[in-house]
């Protein structure tokens, strides 16, 4: 390496390699704590978008009620625009009429964004496996991060799902 650096002909190339390697080391050294800090922020600040797709929204409401109070985890129902949200909880059945809208809501959210499939209908279609107007699960529409089973799931199960999602975020890269 040193020889190459000294050599007039190979020097420019070797310098580039050296600088590149130094940069890699720096990025690794800086990147890891940086990732951790950002992921820590993301973990405790999940704002779900207000999109009620079906009846599971009742239990989502119960989860933000005083008894289960998901604000403890930093999850506030950001009662506003989807541009400020980072979590989409698919609360139940997705019908054929809703599916394009769901996808559009997902598309318009800023990255990074996470999806929780809540309830049997969102996971596999559940009770409506043979209905003419219901999608068999939302896997074909959105990439799902966590599945929360139940019909509807208890708020505890939803909170457990959110904790799983936090684990998942912890292990992902920041960018």
């Amino acid at each position: 390496m040193l020889k190459e650096l000294v050599n007039q002909e190979t020097a420019p190339h070797a310098t580039n390699v050296l600088v590149g390697k130094l940069g890699d080391i720096l990025v690794k050294a800086v990147g890891k704590p940086f990732d951790m800090a950002i992921n820590w922020g993301r973990i405790y600040s999940l704002w779900p978008v207000h999109l009620e797709t079906a009846c599971c929204s009742v239990e989502f409401g119960a989860a933000s009620s005083p008894r289960y109070d998901v604000e403890r985890f930093g999850i506030i129902e950001a009662f506003g625009s989807l541009r400020q949200c980072d979590l989409i909880v698919v609360m139940g059945t997705i019908t054929r009429k809703m599916a394009p809208r769901l996808r559009m809501v997902y598309d318009q959210m800023p990255d990074p964004k996470y999806v929780i499939a809540m309830g049997a209908c969102a996971i596999t279609g559940g009770l409506y496996f043979d209905s003419y107007n219901v999608l068999p699960g939302i896997d074909g529409v959105l990439p799902v991060d966590v599945y929360v089973p139940g019909c509807p799931p208890r708020p505890e199960t939803l909170i457990q799902g959110c904790m799983l999602l936090q684990e998942k975020i912890k292990r992902t890269k920041a960018k």
């Binding site: 019908t95 054929r96 009429k97 496996f129 043979d130 209905s131 003419y132 107007n133």
Partner: protein, 220 residues
């Protein structure tokens, strides 16, 4: 799915065997009480499949039904008169007149629901208006079912085939959304309805109306 249907058939078979065997063991000549005792000893269920005891026809409901039948004669048929429930079938040509009579003379003032029933065997679709009354105290318990039958086509083309009937929106304002639903679910076009659009189904629905009997859902 295939295994599921197999299982279904299996269980149905066993159930039928069960019932037939119990019928076989039952002696033919038995009074009602004896049969009851027999069933109780066997630990079997007592409830009959079909209610058998005839109920008396109540007077008030009978008078209402008579009013309608005396006015319209053989244009309508009174299907049944039970406690709190009357059902009348009218032809679709005079359903508006019947409805107006019911509203003005019998004081039924709103429609609770508009349902369609598909009868592919007789190639007809039945449209039933369940009418109720808020203004008349005596009619608080009553539901008046006004039915009509429209022809049904095997290859439906909703809106432009013969499956159509006059709308009752001018008579009972409250049927507006119910008739829209009936239109998209059965393909019955209501003539004179101001806003005959699709209501519940997706905008790109291109299949036959889903509540018809020949529309099969998955795996059935």
């Amino acid at each position: 799915m295939s295994s599921g249907t197999d299982k279904d058939v299996e269980v149905k078979d066993t159930a039928e065997e069960h019932s037939t065997s119990s019928e076989n063991t039952k002696p033919d000549s038995m009074s009602k009480d004896e049969a009851k005792k027999f069933y109780e000893e066997k630990g079997l269920d007592l409830s009959p499949d079909v209610p058998v005891k005839p109920k008396p026809i109540p007077a008030f409901e009978k008078s209402l039904a008579d009013k309608v039948s005396s006015k319209f004669g053989d244009k309508i048929t009174v299907d049944y008169v039970r406690a709190d429930r009357i059902r009348v079938t009218a032809k679709r040509e005079n359903i508006v007149d019947v409805a107006k009579f019911i509203r003005d003379e019998l004081k039924y003032d709103h429609a609770e629901s508009v349902s369609g029933v598909d009868y592919p065997d007789s190639s007809e679709i039945e449209v039933i208006y369940h009418l109720g009354s808020y203004t008349d105290e005596k009619l608080g318990r009553q539901i008046f079912a006004l039915a009509t039958r429209v022809p049904r086509e095997d290859v439906p083309n909703p809106g432009s085939d013969s499956t159509r009937t006059p709308s009752l929106r001018d008579v009972f304002y409250s049927v507006e959304f119910h008739e829209r639903e009936c239109f998209e679910m059965f393909g019955v076009y209501f003539e004179g309805h101001p806003d005959m659009r699709r209501l519940l189904l997706p905008e790109d629905w291109a299949d036959i109306p889903p509540f018809r009997k020949d529309f099969k859902i998955k795996g059935r």
